[in-house]
């Protein structure tokens, strides 16, 4: 399973993951919009040569998206190793993924390469350091498209400059319950930071999960960008923690009841939809984080978050499943995961 489910970074109960992504293009090849099949092949070949000469991250294996079954593609996406665009790619594309599944280098995405590192908790600096090292390694071997005014040149002008996106996934149930999340969304927007719900459509966040990331990449260097996202995340986490205890103190029985009911459902339900699963997981995560539920590890909840998604479930089952079959399989998998940890 993915490395982020094993390792535990600072504030890992609220900050599920920290991710840094760098977009890079080579100067001598046209960008994705104008690439022929031959160009794409050449890029894949070039990246294979560069990466195979790299010993530090030698365990990076190339996953050829082109030859991959649809379920495997989406499962890689659900594990945050490739982007939705790459999962749907029709051309010659792929990704180098390391053994612990926290580093990936996508090839032939919107940009020639997109390299990303993923760590548990608030660890953007660490994630950047990994990306920076790999990036420097690649840039020693081939010329990047770079301009002294616009920085790293990207397919879309929105990514110019550092071409870096630094993001942290936060679990914010108390901010959602109290409605304060709205003012956080607004004030973050004013300082060039985007907060958006994930696992949900539009702004509605299923499972109270939000992604905080930088909007602007030109004019601010990597360290400044990371420091600002880092600072904002820490403030949001502090607010979330304070609200949690306020809510708890307001009505202890009601608060605990909600959490234990959700745990009861996860432990006993025989059919669970993705949406319901994310809602229940959010309550249980809150309970574990506050020490109300003992004997369950946050890592298990992170695992469930990944395995309960449609494609990964089907990968576990080893066959295609209809929606109703998935809901049954999901319930089964969740029970097995939690019961293994022997909840009393």
């Amino acid at each position: 399973m993915s490395g982020l489910q094993v390792e535990k970074g600072p504030e890992y109960d609220i900050a599920v993951t920290s991710r840094v992504r760098l977009a890079r293009n080579f100067a001598d090849l046209p960008f994705s919009a104008k690439m022929s099949a031959k160009h794409q092949d050449e890029l894949v070949k070039r990246m294979k040569e560069i990466i195979s000469s790299n010993l530090d991250y030698g365990k990076l294996m190339y996953a050829d998206i082109t030859s991959m079954h649809n379920i495997d593609r989406i499962s890689l996406m659900e594990r945050h190793l490739i982007s939705p665009d790459l999962a749907e790619s029709k051309g010659n594309s792929g990704a180098f993924v390391n053994e612990t599944e926290n580093v990936s280098i996508m090839v032939n995405e919107e940009d020639h390469i997109r390299l990303q590192a993923l760590f548990s908790g608030v660890q953007l600096e660490k994630a950047y350091k990994v990306c920076d090292e790999i990036d420097t390694f690649i840039s020693d071997k081939a010329d990047y498209a770079f301009d002294d005014k616009y920085g790293y040149l990207t397919s879309c002008p929105t990514n110019l400059g550092t071409a870096m996106r630094a993001s942290v996934m936060l679990h914010l149930p108390a901010l959602v319950m109290t409605g304060y999340i709205k003012s956080i969304l607004e004030s973050c927007n004013k300082v060039g930071v985007t907060v958006r719900g994930i696992y949900g459509e539009n702004s509605e966040a299923v499972g109270d999960m939000f992604q905080v990331s930088n909007q602007i990449s030109l004019g601010r260097n990597e360290e400044e960008t990371i420091a600002s996202i880092d600072g904002i995340c820490k403030q949001i986490i502090d607010r979330e923690k304070a609200l949690r205890f306020q809510l708890y103190k307001q009505d202890v029985y009601r608060f605990e009841d909600k959490i234990f009911r959700s745990l009861g459902l996860l432990l006993n339900a025989r059919i669970i939809s993705t949406q319901e699963c994310f809602k229940l997981l959010s309550d249980v995560r809150l309970g574990v984080s506050m020490g109300i539920i003992k004997d369950i590890d946050i890592g298990i909840l992170n695992e469930i978050l990944v395995l309960s998604q449609p494609a990964t479930l089907q990968k576990i089952a080893g066959k295609q499943l209809r929606e109703d079959e998935r809901d049954i399989k999901r319930a089964e998998q969740i029970r097995a995961k939690i019961q293994n940890t022997e909840v009393k």
Partner: protein, 162 residues
């Protein structure tokens, strides 16, 4: 039926207009319809995507542009549709149109941060060296010698490649 406007010629054009959420049917003769269609019945112009709108607002205001990148063959109009450039040279080729857009996206900013070790030919090396020398003296003033050494090495490598 007579034209509702001139009340003289026969009405042979039927207009349906939605005004303040209510439907209005108008029957006009060809001549009046032509006159009115130029004055009143202008189709509203809407963009659904923010980015699209940002790039696209230029289509409306200006005569179609025929900027074309000689390297990859992308035309500016093509970029407006997809908001993706075709190659590194497109930024230069579309410069006059693209620069104001980038300003709107990122503010009046220039790149700060990492520079690739093997710089591509379009980097202005003398300017970069000048910038680095400034940084070097700043870091020496702050007594950050480790950082200063890094910058010094970078200046040396640039001077060699110049």
């Amino acid at each position: 039926m007579l034209c509702q406007n001139c009340q003289q010629r026969a009405a042979n054009v039927h207009f349906t207009q939605i005004k303040n959420n209510s439907k209005v049917d108008i029957y006009l003769c060809e001549k009046c319809a032509q006159e009115m269609s130029q004055a009143e019945f202008v189709a509203p112009f809407g963009f659904n995507d923010l980015i699209n709108g940002l790039f696209g607002s230029q289509i409306k205001q200006e005569i179609p542009v025929d900027l074309k990148c000689s390297n990859c063959g992308m035309e500016y109009g093509e970029f407006l549709e997809t908001s993706r450039v075709g190659c590194a040279q497109c930024y230069k080729a579309f410069g006059p149109k693209l620069d104001p857009i980038i300003k709107r996206l990122h503010g009046n900013a220039e790149h700060r941060g990492k520079v690739p070790t093997r710089v591509s030919s379009n980097l202005n090396i003398p300017k970069e060296i000048e910038k680095l020398k400034k940084l070097l003296s700043e870091s020496i003033q702050r007594e950050e010698y480790e950082e200063a050494a890094k910058i010094r090495d970078r200046i040396r490598s640039l001077e060699v490649s110049e």
